[in-house]
């Protein structure tokens, strides 16, 4: 495995793991959806 190989592996894995933890972190924190936005949408 070359250094460039390691760089590509770590970057790709890093990106995917970051995205995964970002998404599930937010989901687990359970931010509620914005009801005001929905109300505004139907008022239009």
């Amino acid at each position: 495995m070359t250094t460039a190989g390691w760089v590509f592996l770590l970057l790709s894995w890093g990106m995917i793991l970051s995205l995964l933890s970002f998404c599930y972190g937010r989901i687990l924190r359970g931010k509620k959806s914005n009801d005001d936005d929905i109300a505004k949408y139907y008022d239009q």
């Binding site: 894995w13 995205l19 599930y24 989901i27």
Partner: protein, 523 residues
């Protein structure tokens, strides 16, 4: 009186169901082969570009369109498309592809899924462990498929029995509906699949270099075979197309499944973050787990010379011929063999139940048939239409179905969807709809990508296909003349099915109109 609509039980449930639909056999067998053949680590550049420019935008488009259509009581593509372009009388017919495409894939996918169940069983019973050569595994597979009579199996019957078991399991899950069947299965199967995948990946990586005669045949160098970049590959259009194709294939976009799944969401349920979470779950399974299994394992046991031949032998050979040979050479190989094939089976069943749902949803919500009856009707039709792939596998029927279902129709379907949402429905309304109840503010650049870049990429792929392959495919050039009647027969069957679907759509809308007229009269 309107009957109560089906809904998802939990937020994580719908994400796991969509991820379960996306995580399939391709994640573990197709991705590593594509990467190894198309520039190794450098393949990840077009792959990630395609993910951002095609994959994720389409995921958002489908989640958004599906939830919007669901708000009008539609759960399959014809109705969802109609709800986005109400005045057009033809658009609902374009939605037929959102039922036809997944059904077509179902016609062979369940059969392949049943091979995984059978091989998991044969791993446990020790039948695979008793095979000692590569040729023996090839004979075992072709004997199991009924393609050759190599003395291992007597015809297609054992394969048909496993198909029946798999088919009944699929139908049972679909029978219990969205919350009671699909969501329950995915809540168990997906975590189990990831657990098995991680166990196998750790086993492969910790094999290091088991052969003292070949200390360079190590798991780390096996990872190198997949990840060492070959930048010259980036100059090839074929590599970019392969990356775009892989993204399509892996995310289950363009086939109408996400449209149907997201139609069961409530109006204020988030789609932006959920869509991204499902896509990233799939990427974890594909790049991290899938990339750490087949290629490194094959490299350790076959070395740098033979691995090229192994990688080019195709996904089925890798999964059903190469991998069992490897398991035969490691301690407790029967158990790891079982884990491998059962993991593939779980990946398969969470995908096949999703491709059944658009058809069932159409029968249930557009033709107003009770769910249990809708599942029975679908079951009979699917069972009959699965037969060509089983009995005429060696006549190239399965490969032809795979081309139309998993390559052509999904690109066509995705192009229709995105043009409809971004251009007809309008990008402003689509953007607003995407952000309704959203727990994630999508970067504004994606407005531009969804409106211009993604449709351009999709049209370019379609034009490229028409320019290079269209005539060859239609006229079956290069197909053995003995196989032509079988493939032609299957294509005519599919055409008849397509026409039948168009008639059913017409019937459904006429019936809907009559009911609406009667309700108006009553008022």
């Amino acid at each position: 009186m309107e009957k109560a609509r089906q809904r998802w039980g939990t937020r994580v449930g719908v994400i796991l169901a969509v991820a379960g639909s996306a995580v399939g056999l391709g994640n573990f067998l197709r991705f590593p082969v594509q990467a190894a053949k198309n520039g190794g680590g450098a393949f990840m550049i077009p792959y990630l570009v395609a993910l951002v420019l095609i994959g994720i935008p389409l995921v958002w488009v489908e989640w958004t369109a599906g939830r919007f259509g669901g708000g009008y009581g539609h759960t399959s593509a014809p109705g969802i498309f109609q709800s986005m372009w109400k005045r057009n009388r033809v658009v609902k017919y374009l939605g037929i592809f959102g039922i036809f495409g997944p059904f077509l894939i179902y016609m062979y996918y369940v059969y392949i899924e049943s091979w995984c169940l059978a091989y998991a069983y044969y791993s446990l019973t020790g039948q695979l462990a008793s095979i000692t050569s590569s040729g023996g595994f090839i004979d075992f597979l072709s004997g199991y498929q009924g393609v050759t009579d190599a003395g291992v199996f007597s015809g297609t019957l054992p394969g048909f029995v496993f198909f029946l078991i798999t088919f009944v399991l699929n139908m049972s899950v679909t029978y219990f509906g969205i919350k009671g069947g699909i969501e329950k299965l995915c809540n168990i199967a997906l975590p189990l699949l990831f657990f098995f995948g991680i166990v196998l990946a750790v086993r492969v990586i910790t094999l290091f270099a088991p052969d003292p005669l070949h200390p360079d045949w190590s798991s780390i160098n096996g990872l190198g075979f997949l990840w060492n970049p070959d930048f010259s590959a980036l100059k090839s259009a074929k590599v970019w197309l392969a990356a775009a194709g892989q993204i399509f294939f892996t995310l289950s976009v363009g086939m109408g499944v996400i449209l149907t799944y997201s139609s069961y969401l409530r109006k204020k349920d988030d789609v932006a973050l959920s869509g991204l979470a499902a896509a990233s779950t799939n990427e974890f399974a594909e790049v991290i787990i899938g990339g750490s299994l087949v290629i490194p394992a094959a490299f350790i046991f076959f070395g740098p010379q033979e691995i090229v031949t192994v990688a080019e032998s195709g996904a089925f050979n890798l999964g059903f011929v190469t991998m069992p040979q490897i398991f035969n050479q490691i301690p407790v190989g029967a158990l790891f063999g079982f884990i491998w094939f059962f993991m593939l089976f779980l990946a398969g069943i969470t995908s096949s139940i999703s491709i059944a749902q658009p058809s069932v949803a159409f029968l249930e919500d557009e033709l107003k048939i009770k769910r249990q009856s809708a599942v029975k009707i679908f079951g009979v039709a699917a069972f009959l239409l699965c037969q060509p792939a089983i009995w005429f596998l060696h006549r190239g029927v399965l490969a032809d179905l795979d081309f139309w279902g998993a390559n052509f129709i999904i690109v066509l379907g995705a192009t229709i969807e995105i043009v409809l949402l971004a251009w007809i429905f309008g990008i402003d309304k689509a953007w607003q709809e995407l952000h309704l109840g959203a727990e994630l503010k999508v970067p504004r650049i994606f407005r531009f990508i969804i409106k211009y870049i993604t449709p351009t990429c999709l049209l370019a792929i379609l034009v490229w296909w028409f320019a290079t392959d269209w005539w060859k495919t239609i006229t079956m050039q290069g197909v053995d003349s003995v196989n032509i009647p079988y493939i032609l027969g299957t294509r005519l069957l599919l055409l008849a099915f397509l026409v039948a679907l168009a008639i059913l759509v017409r019937v459904a809308w006429r019936r809907r109109k009559t009911i609406e007229a009667l309700e108006e009269d009553e008022l």
